[in-house]
Amino acid sequence: MGRKKNGCPEEEKACCSHASDDTDRAEGGSSKAPGAGDLGATIWYYFSMGAGLTSFSRFAGCGAKLGAGLLDKALCGLSQRAYPDLIADFRHSEDAGVLRLNESQALIHTVDFFPPIVDDPFLFGRIAAVNALSDVYAMGGKPSTAVCIVGFPTDSLDVEVLQRMMEGGLSALQEADCPLVGGHTVEDGELKFGYAVTGLVDPDRVWLNNSLKGEERLILTKPIGTGLVTTAEKAGLASPEALAAAIESMRTLNRTASEILAGSRVNACTDVTGFGLLGHACEMAADSPCSLHLSARSVPLLPSALDYAAMGMVPEGTYRTRTFRMPFIINHAAVDDDLMNVLFDPQTSGGLLAAVDSAQADQLVEKLRSAGVSANVVGETVPGKGMVELV
């Protein structure tokens, strides 16, 4: 997904976009593992250096992603005949493809895989699964099945590593009540891991990205800054608190958030991934009969994310998305340069950005919070023409 509707080059793709955006990513970073018990993140940080999975990736940061130019060339002009039951295909900039099966069910289909973003195999597997499942939740659906996709370097990694990744992935799939039904492995010079996931949704209640009506408020369900923290970690500068918070966020399913949001009317929804919060907000506003107000100061940030932006720990994709999206943003002056880079920070396994009925927003946030979701109202729709205004 992630194409503009004509399927032709237009969009400068952000680094680390989720793979239903057709692309891979490699973000540096190591991690405090779940089940590490009393081990502090600091200790893990020192131990993981030079020993973990990310050191097996040739690519630093976002280098693994297929370049935007190449991808655009490959997809330009690609079209298929009209299928009457198709709700979203590769030409739409949606989180996943959707096909109507019958009156009450539509199939959601998505795929997502990437090189290691953390050093611990269990955690990497888990985050890969959480990230893949997220596209289903972002469409308002429930995951049905998952198949695993693995590229594995048998000469440099022990098969135990694969086993741990599978276990990590399975821990997330089980939490999502989504059976693992198979997979495919290939021998690969570099480790890659992820899932293709299907899900079901009521065809009348598919949450599209850009179907705003004009009477909504925006709820964000996770803090932002994972790209900055994992980049700082790769540079050996991430604090244990920041790293632990980023990992906790990345390993958390969007299931609870999606289910609670489904209890009220959601007019548009996406998960915050490769384009960063502002990039996805722009995508949501595009072609809408309204504009968005985004209240930069009410956006929750991971600890130290702003500091890392000031220190130049900015992933490459941030700059590309920024350049591409700036024309659609009003009032740049409302936020300083560093905060702007956090707002554009590409997220791995980010939260949901949902546009809900204004009247229900406060109550929803309260419900989400009492269920343990870090939810905040970060903006609202205003009269306008598909722009995002920073306030």
């Binding site: 590490a36 976002c62 980049t231």
Partner: protein
Amino acid sequence: MRKTIDAKGLACPQPVILCRKALREADLDEIEMVVDNEAARQNVIRFLKFVGAAEPVVESRGPVHAILARVSVAMRDKARAGAPAPGCEDQDQGVAPGEQFAAKTMLLSSDQVGRGDEDLGRLLVRGFLQTVIEMDRPPRALVLMNSGVRLATEREETIELLKKIESRGVEVLVCGTCLDFFHLLDRLKAGRVSNAYEIMEKFLGPDGVVTVS
């Protein structure tokens, strides 16, 4: 002194890591960073300003940018503050300047680190030993007790790491009683057999003891 660092072809955050490392390691008057992508250009400038540089001078030729900044003492101090970058860790406790070792004895009393998950524990111990090798100032001594002796006898990958640690001048002491208990006395491949008296001397000596459990 002026130093030029060629960071062409490197993805973020590598150019910034190199820049920081250069500022930390040498008393430079000027630093020039050569990069060949826009993200690296912006990030290096951002970092230089973060540590207090005046607006750096940038010369661009096509995609290649040469970023030149004057380095002040304050900048060097700021680059040296905070968490160490990989490969240039500083010990800041109990070490005289120029000292080759940290004044510490490290005790590993298990073949794993932490409790909760055995696989993770083994992965951690490997990472731990690897990191000891990479420290600018490694501990003066490493003591293996209880199942920790397996690291020097049965596990190939940790044996290699322990050998490297020894080659950095770190004393690796392996508890003889423990080797005997596990019937591993004849299989010691790294470090040397030690006894309770010597180990106790280490524990009670002036160097601090760090227990990794």
